[in-house]
Amino acid sequence: MVPTSNLTPTPDIPCPKSPGDEQASSSVSETDEFFIRNTMKSDPRQGMELLYLRYYKPLCTHAIKFVRSRQVAEDMVSDLFYQFYTGQLYKKIHTSYRAYLFRAIRNKGYNYIRWELDRNATLPEDQLSYVPEYQQPDMITQYEELYQDVEKAIDQLPHQRRRIYLQFQFEGKPVKDIASELAISPRTVEVQIYRARQAVRQLIRDKWLIPCGLLLCGAAGLVANLIESFISL
């Protein structure tokens, strides 16, 4: 695949490089979102709609790599836009809207995975807003690594289990529908989903939850040392 700029469906204006202008890359972001920025100043409602039209799709398709569910991804993106508008964050950011929105959705995705790994129960999707904030990775490449690990974990599932998992998780198809489509009992579908989840979770947990565990051990050790020193006093 050789992507070229003519194939890009976004209305990207090729950046004009007039002499005496600012640096190339910063003018990229400025001219890029120039129209949206101006609209945002005069009419935030209208500006938000333009922003939505422009970034909703790429944000959703990016978020789903983290959360593996259409519904959750779309809710997460909508949530992000909503906060962006009601919190008037568009007035406060100094980067491009794009950089902000992508960074934010990656953080949300990261938090979501961490939260899912920390807890044992299945997640109630209506509580998406309460996903707690974890410390974010220092390195930007860790985000890619994380969702690529998720993808690999799903890829390693046995064929039918993966199919059921994707239908259930990605598309949000009810268990009953999957069962009738595959002509198996709903109970079997449930078991397959459970095993798939466990497998994916296990694979991600091994790599991504260890630093947290080490931290906990360290904290416990520190407390133990403190107690010991108190006793010896």
């Binding site: 992507p3 709609e49 909703y56 790599k65 779309e74 906060q83 508008y85 992508f102």
Partner: protein, 331 residues
């Protein structure tokens, strides 16, 4: 721009085809904010070229417009979808409950809240100076209740159980000082020295100096008696009032010096006195003992001294077992 960080390079990276070394270089390169902008531009482009699934924009946009309507209708829209209920929402019942509780506590503890209590233990005599400068000495096993807020009241009212000597100060605004008893007798004074005995619904007032007015209530009728110095008034259980002039020689409130004075006092009265002063339960072994009378005076600092002196005067014996005293004839 360095050829390493080209669009093709990042597209390969987003595809998952980057080596650890390349990733490390991205992490350094991205620290420049301009590069970060560039990164997200590539990311957006890549996401548009490689959608994970066909995103349906229309219904989402419609839903989103509705959400915006709500956001504009209620401008400070909460960020969380389920607003946390305000802790003050149901304040009223709580406030009412707290007030009720305070009211009940206040009612339960109105005595200590409204009155200062002066008390003496059995065998103890103590003196205090009240807020207005008046002095009061309480005999053993007595209690005086003084309102805490009487500074603002038109009269000074105190409540007495037991026996007390008062030295009342005359105030500039002629405020009355009233000693209330539970025997329908109020002693109304302006400034005098007097004693009040109020036990077992028997009241006895002795005036030392000045002038006092006794208000004796009989049902709805109020009887007023004026006392002169040296006068003694007794009111017994049946409510009968007796007034007599005491001889000049008699001591005023001898108990203040722990002095006990008896003039043909029967032993039965002394047994009552032991109970009042020292909370001792005294009894006799034979009825003839009860008819003995005591005349004379002695000082006694405590119950044992009192009992010893009494036994000497009457030439009898006694045994004491904690709170119980038995008088016996001398063998």
């Amino acid at each position: 721009m360095s050829p390493l960080f080209s669009k093709e390079f990042f597209f390969e990276y987003f595809n998952g085809n980057a080596t650890s070394l390349q990733k490390k270089q991205i992490d350094t390169w991205i620290l420049d904010p301009d590069n970060e902008e560039q990164f997200f531009q590539y990311l957006e482009e890549w996401e548009i070229l490689h959608p994970q699934y066909p995103v349906n924009l229309e219904p989402a946009l419609n839903k989103y417009r509705e959400l915006f309507e709500d956001a504009d209708k209620f401008p400070p829209a909460p960020v969380t979808r389920a607003p946390v209920p305000s802790p003050f929402r149901n304040l009223f019942p709580h406030a009412a409950a707290v007030l009720l509780l305070l009211g009940m506590l206040g009612w339960l503890y109105q005595e200590p809240l409204l009155f200062s209590h002066y008390r003496t233990l059995p065998g103890e005599v103590a003196s205090w100076t009240l807020d207005d400068g008046s002095k009061v000495t309480l005999n053993a096993n007595s209690q005086l209740k003084v309102p805490r807020w009487w500074r603002f009241a038109p009269t000074r009212v105190v409540y007495l159980e037991g026996e007390a000597a008062f030295d009342v100060v005359h105030t500039q605004d002629d405020r009355k000082f009233i000693v209330k008893t539970d025997n329908q007798v109020d002693v109304v004074v302006l400034g005098t020295v007097f004693t009040v005995f109020n036990r077992h619904h028997k009241t006895q007032i002795v005036l030392n100096s000045g002038k006092i007015l006794l208000e004796h209530r009989k049902g709805q009728v109020k009887e007023a008696i004026t006392m002169q110095p040296g006068d003694q008034v007794r009111v017994d259980t049946s409510g009968i009032l007796q007034k007599q002039a005491l001889p000049k020689s008699i001591l005023f409130a001898p108990w203040k010096e722990k002095l006990f004075v008896f003039d043909e006092t029967p032993l039965s009265e002394i047994i009552q006195l032991l109970k009042d002063h020292y909370r001792l339960n005294a009894g006799v072994t034979s009825p003839e003992l009860a008819n003995l009378t005591v005349s004379g005076s002695f000082t006694a600092l405590n119950a044992d001294e009192f009992l010893n002196s009494l036994a000497d005067i009457l030439d009898i014996e006694y045994t004491r077992n904690r709170k119980n005293v038995t008088f016996k004839l001398n063998p």
